[in-house]
């Protein structure tokens, strides 16, 4: 498994880690900046750039990680769905004017081999 493929498949989890690391750094910078001075006016920018940006990045990281889980679950349901149709245990989706949806025709599906657990 090469690193390019892994990055393409897991961009959201890699992004999540980067956001969490960035958020932690921002919180640290904010803390150092605020504790560096007793002047409230000088502290305020650090509250925004450190505290709030840090929280934003942590939230973004959580979003990326959880949405990656949801996307995996969706793909898994997709695979089950397709398997059931192919083994005739499920009536083919009633797409008007078209017959059974074959997996080859689903060009827009990007299988994520790594994370189909």
């Amino acid at each position: 498994m090469d690193i390019v493929k892994y990055t393409r498949n897991q961009w959201d989890r890699i992004g999540a880690w980067l956001c969490v690391i960035g958020g932690a750094v921002a919180l640290l910078v904010g803390y150092l900046g605020v504790s560096d001075t007793l002047n409230t006016g000088e502290q305020m920018p650090y509250i925004v750039s450190g505290g709030m940006v840090g929280l934003f990045l942590l939230g973004l990281g959580a979003l990326l990680w959880l949405s990656a889980d949801l996307r995996d679950e969706w793909r898994k349901l997709d695979a089950i769905d397709r398997h059931l149709v192919e083994t005739n245990r499920l009536p083919a989706p009633s797409a008007e004017g078209s017959d059974v949806a074959s997996p080859e025709r689903n060009g827009q599906v990007v299988p994520r081999e790594v994370s189909l657990r």
Binding site: G41, I47, V48, W74, R75, L77, V85, L90, P93, A101
Partner: protein
């Protein structure tokens, strides 16, 4: 449900509209934080800075709400799809029962069961040894009508 999401077609649980809403709310958050930072950096007067801090905080909340909405929507889409999927599997079981000689309108039960059901009821889907009889026949055997599929009619 598989009609709204044909097999293999939707590569993610979110619609384009939901992605757009999330993107807009995240942009609002980034914009608010940028404005808050430049606003608080531009002055040392705390009274002026507080407005910008409030703005940044509000933008942060808007983004947070967007994240929660987005994740909830994905969770719900997966739940609905799962329900549709396994609902279909249960229907498939009912079809298999039909293939063994039980007709769609029949009232069915099994020797081990205390209730009788319509043949398409999910409680009998996939059950082995299901046999059909008239409502009177089931009642004589000491079985009561199912409270879910209401084989005696819902009156």
């Amino acid at each position: 449900m598989s009609a709204t999401h044909p097999v293999g077609v939707a590569p993610s649980p979110w619609t384009a509209g939901q992605r757009l809403v999330l993107a807009v709310l995240l942009v609002v958050g980034v914009g608010g934080l940028l404005a808050g930072y430049t606003g608080t950096s531009g002055t040392l007067r705390v009274g002026h800075q507080v407005v910008w801090i409030d703005l940044a905080g509000a933008a942060l909340l808007v983004s947070g709400a967007g994240v929660i909405l987005f994740l909830t929507a994905g969770r719900r889409a997966i739940g609905q799809r799962r329900l549709g999927l396994f609902g279909n599997v249960v229907e498939g079981g009912a079809a298999a029962a039909l293939a063994t000689g039980v007709a769609a309108g029949d009232l069915v039960s099994a020797p081990t069961m205390t209730k009788y059901h319509r043949a398409d009821c999910s409680f009998v889907a996939g059950k082995a040894g299901v046999v059909a009889a008239s409502a009177a026949g089931h009642e004589q055997a000491g079985r009561r009508p199912c409270g879910v599929c209401l084989p005696g009619g819902d009156a």
